[in-house]
Subunit: 407 residues, 2 copies
């Protein structure tokens, strides 16, 4: 999508951005984002947002803490994990008209655990796993550390956007290829796949009898003009081979509270999983994560709507500045996620783009090479921050690149 | 141990029992203990305490919540799990003079996860696992659901206390016997094993080349006159085959926050484990559980000392009343834990003891048959509650037994 067409009209930040946190208050947090680098570095790496959480979430947590209610949790007359499953099912119906049976959900702590478990359940060492590249680094880590065989499916830049064409890898598929790890909305490129693109992937997976692990953790972070489609909602035939991974921690900004779900598209798939990975091997969910997740999925949409307004405006503002002031940097406008995948090869750097901006701009992006070894000329820019900080990051990038031009 | 000798002088509750919660405030909690049964039932089952948590824990949680600091946690310049490992290592040295290397610790969510993981790592389906019976029900569940072979080691009542004599099972050991699940302090009997008893078990495990999974979650809940000895501290030779399972959630009453540790007694054992069970399959610890665990292990001992004073007095008071007013019920005085294992066979009931007290006394104990199928004449009594509630429970037991005598 060309920039002019993709960017909505330049907007001021919406009136309701009371969730913005100042740099001073962000530096008081005990999170990785604001503590991993020095105090003069602006962090734009790990995918969390510099925003205060939704009031319903904070209220739910505070209510539990005021009672110091830290016993074995019971919710709605059942196990706490079931409350999360029900909230997820309700939300999927409400947002995506997707019918989800809470009995087919296994709660997990986080996305990484939720990736290891299906990989270990449905594949053996030496089996092939297809992965879009570039990709969320732990996906590659899971495949490597469990001694599976990575089959890279490149996200190709068509000139107007990243596409994922399975024909590229047909000759790499054999009888031991078992799984397709789909990331949609895609991290780091920001693509939100269309129904036709997903159906193409679906036909490919049926033809080659692949299990689909569909990471949809960014499904709530989709910009105007695009719509998320849960892969398992495409057809019962596809659902029967699909494990969907989702969590409120990304869109509602509560990753430290650890609450995510694995959804199995059929009872048979759930049962196959359970035979290899007992549910209790994965640990029971913690009470605070459960209450926060339920509050997020059932009561916090107004907050998310306001955040999406802010993110839309920030995306457009930041990318317009980069287009104008840093024309050496190429990008495609993300259709989802708060991540921009910046191709800095036009800067002709003699270090990685990450190192350059870290050293010269005191900005810490995510290094491109973490998402694909050949991508050290790329960085991933997390722009989920205030307009002030986003502008400061771009200012610093511009200043750093200026020193380069002088050299 | 005979009652007269075992019980300390009858005591009033110590002055500092400000952690006692009233029934009214307990019924406002959203936990399993106070919600699983009807509002007219007094719960004395699931092992959590009816006490407010230690102030340092509450302060740590509140501090995080006030900042709404729910991002990916970083603590002391490293991953949050390492902060838990260091706090555990420091505590083990301080309390038990046991040297623990934090690098040999894997954080887990809870005891059940911490049991599944080593069982799956160190044994195969069909392998034999020795388990003391009666036992914590999930141990039996793990062995059954993973299709291992249960070898029962009966805790024999010697007349003065429960003993665990490995000679009873020598003829059941074969080349496929791989693991000894040791629970010390023992749930449900309350035994705290002496050094000599542990060394006997150790010799047995060396002789038969067994991995020891040592559940020491009750290690802080030991009464005057007994001392907990970590199994892995007995010798380097035993450490090298021992996985220790511990958590602050039991003694500091925060099970819903989910934070526990697996300690491997040698780098080789840790490595063997990691080859079968990748650490990230177990999920990263949640930020609140981490901060609560660190506050528990490093700052909350004064609270625990006060709680132990209260529990000692409650144990002695309650058991003296049972001895006097319910002479049909037999028991051994627990040396650790806040659990009493009551043999109600003298009541000659025609239902399970659990059903009798649930129906006639409106008291919910843990059913004995959950700990050992043949033990339906037993109940496990969790007496970690206020003197008022403990007395009401005994009053109701006495009244229910009286109706029996009339019949």
């Amino acid at each position: 999508m060309a920039l002019a067409a993709a960017l909505t009209a330049a907007m001021e930040p919406p009136a309701d951005n009371s969730f913005d946190l100042s740099e001073a208050s962000l530096r008081r947090l005990h999170n990785a984002k604001w503590n991993q680098y020095g105090p003069d570095v602006l962090p734009a790496f790990v995918a969390e947002m510099d925003f205060a959480v939704a009031e319903p979430i904070q209220r739910a947590v505070q209510s539990l803490v005021e009672r110091s209610d830290y016993g074995y949790p019971r919710r709605d007359g059942g196990k706490a994990g079931l409350a999360v499953a029900k909230a997820f099912a309700h939300r999927m119906k409400d947002r995506f008209d997707w019918d989800v049976d809470p009995a087919l959900i296994v709660p997990v702590a986080d996305l990484v655990q939720g990736t290891y478990a299906p990989v270990l359940a449905f594949t053996e060492p030496g089996d092939g796993i297809i992965l879009q590249v570039p990709n969320y680094p732990p996906f590659r880590e899971v495949i490597r550390t469990t001694e599976r065989n990575l089959i890279s499916l490149p996200m190709m830049d068509s000139g107007s956007g990243y596409l994922c064409n399975t024909e590229q890898i047909v000759d790499q598929i054999d009888g031991r290829t078992r799984m397709f790890v789909l990331c949609n909305p895609h991290n780091p490129t920001g693509r939100v796949f269309s129904r036709n693109e997903l159906l193409d992937i679906g036909r490919f997976c049926i033809e080659h009898e692949l299990i689909v692990l569909s990471d949809e953790i960014h499904s709530d972070l989709v910009y105007p003009g695009r719509r998320h489609i849960p892969f398992a909602s495409l057809s019962p035939e596809l659902a029967a081979r699909t494990v969907t991974l989702n969590s409120p921690t990304k869109s509602f900004n509560i990753p430290g509270l650890r609450c995510a779900v694995l959804h199995f598209g059929s009872p048979e798939l759930r049962e196959r999983f359970g035979k290899r990975i007992p549910q209790r091997l994965l640990g029971d969910p913690n009470a605070i994560g459960v209450d926060a997740a339920v509050a997020a999925w059932t009561e916090s949409q107004p907050w998310l709507d306001a955040v999406m307004g802010h993110l839309t405006a920030t995306r457009d503002h930041v990318l317009r500045r980069i287009e104008t002031e840093l024309p050496e940097i190429q990008f495609r406008v993300p259709e989802g996620t708060y991540l921009a995948w910046l191709d800095c090869s036009g800067l002709m750097l003699n270090t990685s783009a990450f190192d350059f901006f870290h050293e010269r701009a005191r900005v810490a992006f995510s290094p491109g090479e973490n998402f694909e070894p050949n991508c050290s000329a790329f960085v991933r820019f997390n722009f989920a921050t205030s307009r002030v900080i986003a502008d400061e990051i771009v200012d610093r990038m511009v200043a750093a690149v200026k020193t380069l031009r002088v050299c």
